[in-house]
């Protein structure tokens, strides 16, 4: 009896449960040794407590899903900026400075890699590449084949295609990075008037 009173004072869940006049009446009857009232109180509590837990879980779910949805949204927004220009003006090593930009593939009038390379030096670098590298770049850029498909076409392993592609792209990116560096140093030098070509 005293135990019931004490517990509902310390436990907010019980306190709230007994705030209901019906439950309070049943508790009083229970304290007078009324077994039926005690059973009824038990059953009412079962429903009450289940409801409390479900409401709490539902709140948590709504918060979690709302937060996660927001996260996904933010991630998508971030991805939209991935191909924008970042860090090219820094003094990082050239390979890191290069944007993850590929030659434009949507220009249907262009059919040769050499036509889409922006500078003469890059064109020369491409022309001097091995036939294998050139073919890999050609198939990758204009036919948009993946490593496996290119490998089937040129009879080698996809790993080999991957290596050739990386090497070829790095060669071109290296040239591009050097040219950018030169361009920057010309712009920075006080008497820089394009003498560095």
């Amino acid at each position: 009896m005293a135990k019931d009173t004490h517990q509902n004072q310390v436990n907010p869940l019980l306190e709230y449960f007994y705030a209901d006049p019906t439950n309070k009446r049943l508790l009083e009857k229970k304290q007078q040794e009324d077994q039926h009232a005690a059973d009824l109180l038990d059953k009412r509590f079962e429903v009450y407590y289940l409801k409390v837990r479900l409401i709490s879980y539902s709140d948590k779910l709504a918060k979690y899903l709302g937060k996660n949805f927001d996260k996904k949204e933010r991630k998508q927004h971030k991805q939209l900026h991935l191909d924008s220009f970042t860090g090219l003006e820094s003094d990082d090593p050239p390979v890191q400075q290069l944007p993850s930009r590929e030659p434009p593939v949507i220009d249907c009038l262009t059919e040769r890699i050499v036509d889409i390379l922006p500078t003469q030096r890059m064109k020369e670098t491409y022309i001097n590449m091995s036939d294998e590298k050139k073919e890999v770049l050609q198939l990758f850029t204009f036919e948009q084949l993946n490593n496996k498909e290119i490998a089937e076409r040129i009879n080698c392993s996809p790993q080999n295609v991957s290596k050739l592609k990386i090497k070829a792209l790095n060669e071109l990116r290296g040239v591009e990075a050097d040219e950018r560096k030169e361009e920057r140093s010309v712009r920075r030098s006080p008497d820089g008037n394009g003498s560095a070509n």
């Binding site: 079962e46 709504a62 949805f69 949204e73």
Partner: protein
């Protein structure tokens, strides 16, 4: 599903409708209904695993917890 649980779930869902909407306020309107449906499904799954705890058992647990806390100090 146990009848009692089913009734409680239905009651909670009715009562929670506005609260769930509020919880999902920052989500886009198009996704809100999907997320709401996800919550309802998860609640239905959860209620299956929840035990119906009578008052006497709950009170016993509260007393035991209190005792354990006091012993800890």
């Amino acid at each position: 599903m146990n009848e009692k649980k089913k009734e409680v779930l239905e009651e909670v869902l009715m009562e929670m409708d506005q609260r769930i909407n509020y919880g999902l306020l920052e989500t886009s309107f198009q996704n809100r209904e999907d997320l709401k449906q996800e919550i309802i499904t998860k609640l239905a799954e959860a209620v299956e695993h929840m035990d119906l705890i009578p008052l006497s058992e709950f009170e016993r647990e509260v007393t035991e917890q209190k005792k354990a806390r006091n012993q800890g100090f």
